[in-house]
Amino acid sequence: MSDVVVNVNGLAKTFQVKQKAAGLRGSVRSLWRQNTREVTAVSDISFALQKGEMLAFIGPNGAGKSTTIKMLTGILYPSAGQASVLGFTPWKDRRKLGYHIGSVFGQKPQLWYHLPPEDTFRLFARIYELDMAEFQKRRDFLVESFQIADLLQTPVRKLSLGQRMKCEIAASLLHRPRIIFLDEPTIGLDVVAKQQIREAIRYLNEQEQTTIFLTSHDAGDIESLCKRVVIINHGRLIYDNSTSALKRQYLRRKIIDVRFAEPLTEPFALPCVETLKQGTHGLKLEFDGRDVPVETVVQQVMATKPTQDITIADPPLEEIIREIYKK
């Protein structure tokens, strides 16, 4: 069992949200007199993560994902429960743990704003006490993986968001962390940048068995990276299984896309089938496989007009996730 990287047991976090009065008096008073309201961000979650796993830790806004990451990286004390990351209790051994974990917060910059990324990389090499020769090899490897060679010498303030994010993630990987926590690393990026980041992360996981703990609202991130999904909602763990099981379990809905050889003359209608789009030659339908079998729908479609092309697809993962969140 030495390959368990993260072990979380009954972890919970309740925030005391202060209702602080404005101004100096309010600040001073808030030191001892507190008008507080309790917010349960995470309640009683348990899971374990093996070495080399890539976990998607997802849930709607405010579900408690970031709060969980903050506890696992040791910057937040839990209200209850235990967690062990690489054998350390994060909030107690924060500094020792620091050598072995990496974290990326999509909304927060860590690179020095006025300096080129290269300078921050060098600083991190010192902070993590890397051997300089080793560091250079590592940097070259990451520069190659993230394709950031031509960005290294540009002051960070002159980089685009996507360029910067690639450098931010690379910076968090310099010290060869055994696990990396990625909190929405692809937020606000275009498809190409997203793809590059996903590929680099996957490559790293393959090459070094780096354990990946990823939160994202982008189903693409999850689909292309993670074999396993944990879903939390209102601070509770509501799903923990493989991504494919998630699809199978929730994949009752199908989408059929048809192109006809001749123009359609009448609106297509079938009970329990939703017509998403209808053009002169095209038709897009969605239905629940339990209400109407796929064969029935296909037969009906083919009976309407001669068909040129027909595709049957699963709805995107995004839709499945939306279904679960709604519950």
Partner: protein
């Protein structure tokens, strides 16, 4: 052991150097701020020349006009050049970047010390050099003897450290209150009056002086400035003893406070 020591040293040196490089982007801004010293020194010179004239005295509380002018330059260099990391901690807490800075393998306060050190060195030098021509013009060259320079520098260094400790206590309050502006303001008022920024302590009313001298505020500003213009070994030892005492007290407070504050910390954002 030795290797670890070398790694630790290079670690904190790197932090200082990186911040210094980052600051170069602000050179003009820093210069702009430093020009303030010329203005304020000019006001001081006019003010105190008038005071000495109306008093018809060559010395007040043992300080000549020349000494007083030099006193204010050094006091301002100390005050304006100090590490202001409480603001930075407050920013980190507010924007949530403390999530990064707190999880790296270093001592969080040492990180801030070395982070501010380079900036402070630059600021102090700049302020001193900009104020120098004016002060030399009105007050001549300083009278400090070469042999006294070392103890003065020592007291100056400890003054900086003590100030860093005090502002660390204020800065760590940000872990709970997020904003430290109010606390800083109160502290600075004390430094202003009891720390010798407005008047050298020697000019304060007799009943207030003993109190002001044992409180920590004067040890960060008045102490190096006074020793620079009117050195005495007796006062040096007294100041040194008090500095060490207050460093110990603040250090102990910080140790406990750090543990308490990290438990209270609520990291924003995400």
């Amino acid at each position: 052991m030795l290797l670890q020591l070398r790694r630790t040293t290079t670690k904190y040196t790197a932090i200082t150097m990186t911040n210094l490089q980052n600051q170069l982007a602000y050179v003009w801004e820093a210069l702009n701020r430093a020009v303030f010293i010329v203005l304020i020194m000019f006001v001081f010179v006019q003010l105190w020349t008038a005071v000495y004239e109306t008093q018809g005295a060559t010395e007040i509380a043992g300080l000549s006009l020349q000494a007083t002018i030099w006193y204010f330059l050094i006091a301002e260099v100390m005050e304006l050049g100090k590490i202001r990391h409480d603001e930075r901690i407050s920013e980190e807490v507010k924007d949530g970047s403390v999530a990064y800075t707190l999880t790296r393998p270093y001592n969080y306060l040492a990180y801030h010390f070395f982070n501010g050190l380079g900036e402070t060195a630059v600021k102090m030098t700049l302020i001193f050099l900009l104020g120098l021509p004016l002060v030399v013009y009105y007050a001549g060259w300083p009278t400090v003897a070469p042999g006294q320079l070392l103890p003065v520098l020592l007291v100056g260094a400890l003054a900086m450290l003590l100030d860093f400790f005090a502002f660390s206590i204020i800065g760590l309050l940000a872990f709970v209150t997020e904003d430290t502006f109010s606390f800083r303001l109160i502290y600075q008022k004390f430094v202003f009056i009891l720390g010798g920024l407005m008047l050298p302590l020697d000019f304060l009313p007799g009943w207030l002086q003993p109190l002001a001298r044992v409180l920590p505020f004067n040890l960060t500003t008045y102490a190096p400035a006074k020793l620079f213009v009117a050195f005495s070994w007796a006062q040096f030892w007294q100041i040194l003893g008090l500095q060490i005492l207050w460093l110990t007290i603040f250090g102990l407070i910080l140790l406990r406070q750090y543990r308490w504050a990290t438990k209270q910390l609520v990291v924003n954002g995400g």
